[in-house]
Every structure is written in structure tokens, then in C-alpha cells.
């Protein structure tokens, strides 16, 4: 039962993470391959502040703010590149941030990571706090879902889609495309920061190994599998991917082969991602009906 609660909580955190990426990838057409950086920045900011004795809520808000600020700082130069080159720039940004966590020991304790990150006081630590943490996550996911849905259904969201479909047309009709894209990345990064800080306070221990390319691919898979540019797609994608990941634990695997499981899992994710992009780019929940 507790394990099921755990899976739900992780799924919800990934749902927020995927929704934030979907705003950039699905609605604006920006291939951000370094999105995990903002998840990590949110996690570390929030963790460090709460370890320094500040309230968890303040830590989470600061985590979102710092992630958003980092998003803008990345976006301004990176968005001068188009298409694939933006993807490469963000990919390297993700790596840079991971190396920062790894090497700036005075701040992040390096590979040791940060243990003992507390949860909000009303939730409580350990297994007893799980139901309340689930409620907390559900409320936040709902809030994020509604905020992003409202935003993408507004003229702002419509302008993002115009940019996704044809950037030149957007410019020909008076849209400051760079500014729109910067704002999309900013909002996406803030929400990824929220997901990251939730992760830190839930797992209570973070290290640079939690914020690698694998996590980027995982969240990318959530969005692509679920359905780019839809409201429910990333949520569905997150649940499918996280449940799949956890179910694998119950597959009887001979002890000798245990060490192969993780790499094979990565291969399966990559393969599913490629197959979906080729064969069903619209995902499980398509944005448009025929």
C-alpha cells in the first residue's frame, strides 16, 4: 500500500515535470534537452535553503524563482540558435549544471549529495507522511495543470502555437517571437523547479546522479508518449512511464543478470521514444482529432 502511494507521488512529480516540458516542447516547439537542469536547480535551491533552517515553503518558492531565472539566462543566448542547435545548447546546459552540482562542493557537497532534507512540517517524515504528501502533490499537480491549461488556451498560448507552426508567419504578424519563447522557457523552468523541489523534499536525499541525461529522456518520453501539445498527455505519460519503471522490479530476474537491468531499461526507453516519434508522433492522446 505504501509502495503504491510512493508510485503515485513519483508519478505526480513527474507529471508536473512533464507538463512544464510540454509547454516548451508541445506548445512552443522548443526541443529542450536540458530540462533536467531546472528540475535540479529547483531541488538543490530548495534543499539547501531548508537545510539552512528556512521554511520548506520558502525553499520551494525560491527553488522555482531560481530555476525560472536560470531559464531566462539560458534562453536569451540559446534561443538565438534555431531548431536542432537550440537542442544542442540546452543539452550541454543540462550537463554543465550537473557538473556544477558535482564540483562546487562548498555549496552542494559534490558527489556526497545532500541528505536529510525535511518535508513540510504538517506532512511528517517517513512512511507515515505518505498520504499527506500524496495530497500535497495532487493539489500542486492540479494547480500546475490548471495554470498551464489556462495559459495555453489564452491568446498567449495561441501565439506560442503560431511560433511552433511557422516562426516567419508569427513575425509577419507582429509577434515578437524571441520574447514569446523566452517567456515560455521561463514558465517551463519555474514549473520544473517546482517539480524538482518536490522531489528533493519527498526523497529527502539528492545528489548529482539524480539529474542526468537519463532523467531528461525519461521526462521527454512522458511528454512524447502521452501526447505533445495536449493537456492530459504529459500526465498520462508520466503515470505510464513511472508505473512501467516500477513494475520492472517485480519481473523475476536471475541475480547474475541484475546488473544488466538498468542499461536495458535505458535502451527500452530510448527505443520506445524513437518508435513513438516515428510511428505515432502525436502520442497516446493526439492533439487533433481527424
Amino acid at each position: 500500500m505504501d509502495y503504491l502511494l510512493h508510485i503515485f507521488i513519483v508519478s505526480l512529480i513527474y507529471a508536473i515535470f512533464a507538463i512544464s516540458l510540454n509547454l516548451e516542447l508541445g506548445f512552443t516547439g522548443l526541443y529542450n534537452f536540458g530540462h533536467v537542469a531546472f528540475f535540479g536547480i529547483g531541488a538543490y535551491t530548495s534543499a539547501l535553503l531548508s537545510l539552512a533552517g528556512y521554511p520548506v515553503t520558502l525553499g520551494m518558492v525560491c527553488g522555482m524563482a531560481v530555476a525560472g531565472g536560470a531559464g531566462v539566462l539560458l534562453a536569451i543566448p540559446a534561443l538565438r540558435l534555431s531548431g536542432d542547435y537550440f537542442g544542442i545548447a540546452t543539452l550541454s546546459f543540462g550537463e554543465i549544471i550537473r557538473l556544477f552540482f558535482l564540483n562546487e562542493r562548498w555549496l552542494t557537497k559534490g558527489p556526497m549529495g545532500l541528505p536529510g532534507i525535511s518535508r513540510p512540517a504538517w506532512i511528517g517524515e517517513g512512511v507515515t507522511g505518505l498520504p499527506r504528501f500524496l495530497i500535497f502533490c495532487t493539489l500542486l499537480t492540479l494547480l500546475v495543470f490548471l495554470v498551464v491549461r489556462h495559459l495555453t488556451r489564452s491568446p498567449f498560448g495561441r501565439a506560442l502555437k503560431v511560433i511552433r507552426e511557422d516562426e516567419f508567419v508569427a513575425q509577419a504578424f507582429g509577434k515578437n517571437t524571441l520574447f514569446f519563447k523566452i517567456r515560455a522557457v521561463a514558465v517551463g523552468s519555474i514549473l520544473a523547479g517546482l517539480a524538482g523541489s518536490l522531489w528533493a523534499h519527498y526523497i529527502s536525499y539528492i545528489s548529482p546522479a539524480d539529474f542526468t541525461l537519463t532523467e531528461t529522456i525519461l521526462v521527454l518520453l512522458c511528454v512524447v508518449l502521452g501526447g505533445r501539445g495536449t493537456h492530459w498527455g504529459p500526465v498520462l505519460g508520466a503515470f505510464v512511464v513511472i508505473f512501467f519503471q516500477e513494475i520492472i522490479r517485480f519481473v523475476p530476474i536471475p541475480a547474475d543478470f541484475g546488473r544488466f537491468v538498468a542499461p536495458i531499461q535505458g535502451m527500452v526507453y530510448g527505443a520506445v521514444l524513437i518508435i513513438f516519434m516515428l510511428k505515432r508522433p502525436e502520442g497516446l492522446l493526439p492533439e487533433y482529432k481527424e
Partner: protein, 254 residues
Amino acid sequence: MLKIDNVTKSFGGLMAVHDVTFQLDDAGIAGLVGPNGSGKTTLFHLITGFYKLDRGIIHFNDKRISGLAPYVISRMGLVRTFQQTRVLPFLSALENLMAASPRQTGERISSVFFQPRRVKLEERKNRQKAMQILELLKLKPFDQHLAGRLSFGQQKLLELGRVLMAKPKMILLDEPTAGINPTLIRQLVDVIRELARRGIQVFMIEHNMPLVAEICEKVFVMDSGSLIFSGTPSETRQNPRVIEAYLGSEDHVA
């Protein structure tokens, strides 16, 4: 209205537009003609800021527009279409039009959350205007269709409708009738004339010479990057340089 002075643009060794100077004043509908590769589309790209010019100045309503970003020029009321149809395929016909409306309050994130009533009201007006335009274009039954699913001719009409949404003072049309059937051409021409009647200056690249003669009050002719002639359609058809540019000189023919 539009004043182009000594505009030059080259790509590597190719002089695409060479020292072009002309002025366009409230002429209703004006045409830009010339053989393929004579620099017409490049000139449009230069006017609308999609290309940077090498030399020269462009003024629109006495304001210098050369060097400004495309979206700034568009907001000043100088709006263009593209040579290839470029509707937004995965947005509905209605959304295609609504998105083209300039300076929407709801494009600011803060307004989306803190001025919802104002945004809603503006959206309603915007939708009404878009529906009126769809009616004018006889596209009203297709308002919820994805633009990418419309026929080629309907997409051309939709592009024109999008320009109308942008409240332009002047529009640049890049081959609006290319590749569409005669019936739709008539419909398109009606719309273009309607625009001119509403006081919008139309400047169009067009290869269909009878059509140019029919609707344009003034014609500019380009050849090999230079402006070689400007005048009324009948003057244009009789001008020896224009004939030479289109048919080749006698030396070559011989």
C-alpha cells in the same frame, strides 16, 4: 506611403536587388512584375525586414523602417503574405485568423491571469471580426477545420483573411493567384479590390499579366535586380525594355 531609396542586396557574388529606388503613393493596387529571379521576392523580404539590406533606406509613412525587426514593421501596418502558402496547418481556420490580430492583451502572461475579463472581452470581439472575414471569404462553414486540411485555394484565401485581421495600412502580396483555379482567382480578385476600397494600399507580385492589366493602377517592372520601368499597365505592355526583359532581346532570339 512607401519610399524606397537606393536599396541594394547581394548574396555572395549575386546582386539580387541593385540600387532600386521608387515611391508608392496611395495608388490603390500596384503590381510588381518581372521574370523569375529578377529580385521581386527579395525586395519584399527587404521591405518587410526579413532580409537586411546592404545599402539604402526604406521609409513607410515617413518613418524609416529599414533595419527594424519584421514584427515591428508588421505592427506599423505593413503586412505581407508569402509566396508559398503558409497557413498554420494544425490550427483551425478560425484560430489562424484570430492569431493574426495584433497587440492582443491576452498575449501578456500577467493579463491572462489578472485581467481575465478584459482578455475575454477582447477575444469575443476578435472572434466576431474573424467570423466576418471568414464570411467575406466564403470560408465560414470551415471555421473549425484544421487549416492544413483546406484546399490549396482556400488556404490562399485564408492567408489573405489573416492579413485583413492585422489591420494593415498596406499589404504586400507575393503571387496571390499562383496555382489556383480561375473561379477562385475571381473570388480572390474581388477580395483584393474590396481591400483597396477600404483604403488599404495593395502591392502585389503577379505573373498573370492580363490580371495585372485588369486590376493594377500602377506597375513596376524589375529585371536582373533592377527596376527597369514603372507606369500604367498599358504603358508597360508597350515598353520595349519590358518586352525585351520578358521575351529576351532580338540578338538572343536570332
